[in-house]
């Protein structure tokens, strides 16, 4: 069971969290203005990196907040967790 640092509550057991998929996938401001391909990208295309991955978590059985985390998918080491709206701390690709 992972130990996850909630930016609001601190270190908590993984059981209290729910994974929320890739982070930094913003909903288009005006969906009706997107092309069919842009919309399909937004809906369905996600990265699956070996290594650092920015992902969303929700402390669902704790403070209830969504937040983002930078996790190494090969080691499960969390490099950082940070609040929604904050930039990816390693400056890595944010779609």
């Amino acid at each position: 069971m992972l130990l996850i640092h909630c930016p609001y509550c601190g270190q908590r057991p993984e059981l209290e969290f729910r994974h929320g998929g890739q982070a930094h996938v913003a909903r288009p401001a005006d969906p009706s203005a997107t092309s069919i391909d842009e919309w399909a990208d937004y809906l369905y295309l996600r990265e699956n990196p070996k290594g650092l991955h920015a992902e969303r978590w929700r402390h669902v059985h704790g403070c209830g907040r969504f937040f983002n985390a930078l996790r190494d998918t090969t080691t499960d080491v969390f490099v950082s967790t940070y609040r929604c709206g904050e930039p990816r701390p390693d400056g890595g690709s944010a779609r």
């Binding site: 509550c9 601190g10 057991p13 209290e16 059985h61 704790g62 403070c63 209830g64």
Partner: protein, 178 residues
Amino acid sequence: MINLASAGLVAAPESRRWVLRGHAVAMAAAGAAFGSPLPTRAGEVAQAASSIADTARAALWLGPDEVWFITPVEDGAALEGALRTALAAVPHALVDISHRQVGLLLQGTDPAWLLNAVCPLDLSLAAFPVNCCTRTLFNKAEIVLWRTGPAAFRLETGRSFSGYVVGLLAEIAREQAA
């Protein structure tokens, strides 16, 4: 049948509860009505005198924009009235959850031991001191845990989960007896 009292488990006195959600301005306004600044640090509990002698109201930090009020039922109208008045002009949500929850008091010899059978948090006094609170899990039930004393907890759970929580506590208490 297990004697729950021997495991230190009793039902909390009838209480009223509200969830307050809002920004700092709402929290500040509510604090004045509550009688003490509302908690701002994770897991903090603030208490203030209730309108009924020798009883206290509590405000539990459960999220950065979420505070729970718990007070004896006799203080309910006074507290709610004060809060609604103070918050009238401030964007907020104050929702009655008095009946949503069931409160249990654990005050046996080692309630942390009982809880840690299935609660994944570190409940040592150093890690979870008196007047610390949090939402967490009790095996398959979500609970709110508030340490009211070195060997005393208040546990809040959803009404329909209370049978499960009590049954599981009783099952765990049998180990202490064994």
